[in-house]
C-alpha cells in the first residue's frame, strides 16, 4: 500500500506538471457545462439529467486521453524498466497509477459542482438523484479508466493506446443501446439482450440517473473495473516471459 502511495504521488503530480492537465480540465468543464446549458433552459427542468446523460458518450473520448500516458509514456521513457525493477509488486505500481488517474478525473468532475449549485438556486432539484448521478459519473469514469489503463499497458505509444481505449469504451457503450441490442437479437435471438444486460452500460447507468443505486449496478461497474485492472497486471507480469 505504501508503494502504491509513492507511485500515486508521482503520477498525480505528473498530471499537473504539464499544461495538459489544465487544458483537459478546462475542456472538460467548458464542453460539459456548455452542452448542458444549451438544453437546460429549453427543458425548463431543475435537474442534471442532461449533464449526466451526456457523460457516457463524452467520456469515451475524454477518459482514454487521461489514461493513455499511464504505461505508454513509461515504456517510451524507459522508466518502465525502473518501475518493474523496484521492490514492489506490479499490482501495487498499477494501483498507484490507476488511482492517480482516477483522482485527476474526480478533480475535473468536482469542477462541475457549480452546476448543482446553480440548479439549486433556480429551482428545487431532487438532491438524491444528483448525488446518485455523481456516484454514477464517478463509477463510469472509474470503469473507463480501468479500460484505458489496460489499453495503455498494451501499447508502446500513447496514440495507439488512446485509440484502442476509445474503441473499447465505445463497445461497452454501444452494446447498451437498445437499438443495437435489438439488431443483434435479429441475428442471434437473445444474444443482443444478453450482451446489453451484462456488458452494456446504459441500463446500469440510467438507473443511477434516476436516483436508484442498486447492488447489481454497483457490482457491474466495480466488477468490470477490477476485471480490466487484473488483466492489466497479468499482462504486465506476463511480458517478462
Amino acid at each position: 500500500m505504501r508503494s502504491s502511495l509513492t507511485i500515486f504521488r508521482r503520477e498525480f503530480a505528473a498530471y499537473f506538471n504539464s499544461p495538459i492537465a489544465y487544458i483537459f480540465i478546462i475542456a472538460f468543464l467548458v464542453l460539459n457545462a456548455g452542452l448542458f446549458m444549451t438544453g437546460f433552459f429549453l427543458n425548463g427542468a431543475a435537474d442534471l439529467r442532461g449533464f449526466f446523460g451526456n457523460l457516457p458518450f463524452f467520456l469515451i473520448f475524454f477518459i482514454p486521453a487521461v489514461s493513455m500516458r499511464l504505461w505508454a509514456e513509461d515504456k517510451r521513457l524507459g522508466t518502465f524498466e525502473l518501475l518493474m525493477t523496484l521492490p514492489m509488486r506490479t499490482a501495487d505500481v498499477m494501483l498507484g497509477k490507476y488511482l492517480a488517474a482516477l483522482a485527476f478525473y474526480l478533480v475535473a468532475l468536482a469542477g462541475t459542482l457549480t452546476l448543482p449549485i446553480m440548479v439549486g438556486a433556480l429551482g428545487n432539484p431532487d438532491g438524491g438523484a444528483i448525488f446518485s448521478g455523481y456516484l454514477g459519473a464517478a463509477l463510469l469514469g472509474a470503469l473507463y479508466l480501468g479500460i484505458g489503463t489496460f489499453t495503455s499497458g498494451l501499447m508502446r505509444d500513447q496514440i495507439s493506446a488512446v485509440i484502442l481505449g476509445i474503441m473499447a469504451c465505445f463497445l461497452l457503450f454501444v452494446l447498451g443501446i437498445p437499438a443495437v441490442a435489438a439488431t443483434i437479437d435479429g441475428w442471434v435471438p437473445g444474444f443482443g439482450s444478453l450482451l446489453q444486460n451484462y456488458l452494456g452500460l446504459s441500463s446500469h447507468y440510467e438507473m443511477m440517473l434516476r436516483g436508484v443505486v442498486g447492488a447489481a449496478d454497483l457490482a457491474y461497474f466495480l466488477g468490470l473495473t477490477v476485471v480490466f485492472l487484473v488483466l492489466n497486471a497479468l499482462w504486465l507480469e506476463g511480458r517478462k516471459y
Partner: protein
C-alpha cells in the same frame, strides 16, 4: 554473490542467450564485454528480474530471481541502458521518488540524497528539470538513482555510453571507489574502459560466453604466443639470423626502425624470451635499444576470441 547458470532466452525465433553461465563473488567487479546485440543487456535484465529466462537459473545472494524477485530487487541497484528518467521532474524530485519507492524516508533519505548528489556530482543542476539536462548529467542522475538505497549489488548497463572523456573518467573513478564494498557488473562494448577498472571480464558473443577470466589469462589463451619487441644497433641480417635460431622464437617479423633494426618476435608463453634475447645480445655485443614484452590489448584478445568463436560455430 551472483550465480548465473545455464541461462537461455529467445525473443520470437531469435535466440538471445544460449546456455550462459558465470559467477561473481561478493565485492568483485566484473566487466561484461561483447559487441552490440551480443546479449549483455538481456542477461542484465534477467538478473534484475525485469525479464524471466526461458531456461536456467539466476541466484543473487542465494535467492532465486524467479522465486523471490522482490528480495532480489531490494539488493540490486540497476542502471538500464536507456537511462530511466522522468523528464518532467527535477533531480531532487526524481531521486526522492526513487528513494521513497525503495523504502527510504526521513533522515535516512536525506542522508542518501546528499551522498548521491556528492558522489555523482549533481550539485549544480540539482533543481533543474531532467529534460533540460545534458547527456552527462542525465547519465549521472541515472547512476545516482541506482545508488540511492546503498545496494550491495550494482548492475550498470553501459554506464559510460555517450559521455565525454572527462565524464567517463569521473564514472570510472566512482566505480573504482565503490570497489571492495559492492559487487558490480558493468557492461560495455568499449574495451579500453575495462582494464582501468577491473581485471575480471566475461566476454559474450552472439548469446554465448566465449571467455571468462582475467585480462592477462584471456590474452594468453586467445593469442597462444607471447610477443617481444627487440631493437638493436647492429647489422640487421645478422640479428635476424641469430634471433631466428633462438629456440623460443617461433615467428619473427622485421619492423621499421629509425636506426639499427627492430623485430617483433613471438614464442610460447612458457619460454623466457626476454632473457634469451638479452643473453644473446651480450654474447654478440649488440647494443640493445629496445627489449620488452608487449602484452596484448584487450582489443586483440577480444577480436581473436570472437573470431575463434565464430569459426567454432561454423565448424559445428
Amino acid at each position: 554473490m551472483i550465480e548465473v547458470r545455464g541461462l537461455s532466452k529467445s525473443f520470437g525465433t531469435m535466440k538471445a542467450l544460449d546456455d550462459v553461465s558465470f559467477r561473481i563473488n561478493r565485492g568483485e567487479i566484473l566487466g561484461f564485454l561483447g559487441p552490440n546485440g551480443a546479449g549483455k543487456s538481456t542477461t542484465m535484465k534477467i538478473i534484475t528480474t525485469f525479464l524471466a529466462p526461458d531456461g536456467g537459473t539466476v541466484t543473487v545472494d542465494g535467492i532465486d530471481v524467479l522465486e523471490r524477485p522482490l528480495e532480489v530487487r531490494r539488493r540490486i541497484g540497476y542502471l538500464p541502458e536507456n537511462v530511466p528518467l522522468y523528464l518532467d521532474m527535477n533531480i531532487h524530485e526524481y531521486l526522492t521518488f526513487v528513494g521513497r519507492a525503495r523504502g527510504l524516508e526521513g533522515a535516512r533519505l536525506r542522508e542518501r540524497l546528499e551522498w548521491c548528489v556528492e558522489a555523482c556530482g549533481l550539485r549544480n543542476e540539482y533543481r533543474k528539470n531532467i529534460g533540460e539536462l545534458s547527456k552527462g548529467y542525465k547519465q549521472r542522475t541515472g547512476l545516482a538513482q541506482a545508488l540511492i538505497h546503498d545496494p550491495d549489488i550494482l548492475i550498470l548497463d553501459e554506464p559510460t555510453s555517450g559521455l565525454d572523456p572527462l565524464q567517463i573518467l569521473g564514472i570510472r573513478d566512482l566505480i573504482k571507489s565503490l570497489a571492495g564494498h559492492k559487487t558490480i557488473i558493468f557492461s560495455t562494448h568499449i574495451l579500453q574502459e575495462v582494464s582501468p577498472v577491473t581485471d575480471r571480464v566475461v566476454i559474450i558473443n552472439e548469446g554465448s560466453i566465449i571467455a571468462d577470466g582475467t585480462v592477462a589469462d584471456l590474452s594468453r589463451g586467445a593469442m597462444g604466443t607471447n610477443r617481444v619487441f627487440v631493437g638493436a644497433r647492429a647489422e640487421a641480417g645478422a640479428v635476424e639470423t641469430a634471433l631466428r635460431a633462438l629456440p623460443g622464437v617461433t615467428e619473427l617479423k622485421p619492423l621499421r626502425a629509425a636506426e639499427g633494426c627492430r623485430f617483433e618476435a613471438r614464442g610460447p608463453f612458457s619460454d623466457d624470451l626476454v632473457g634469451a634475447v638479452e643473453r644473446l645480445a651480450r654474447e654478440r655485443g649488440w647494443q640493445l635499444t629496445e627489449l620488452h614484452e608487449a602484452p596484448y590489448s584487450l582489443e586483440d584478445t577480444f577480436i581473436a576470441l570472437t573470431r575463434r568463436a565464430r569459426g567454432l560455430k561454423e565448424v559445428a
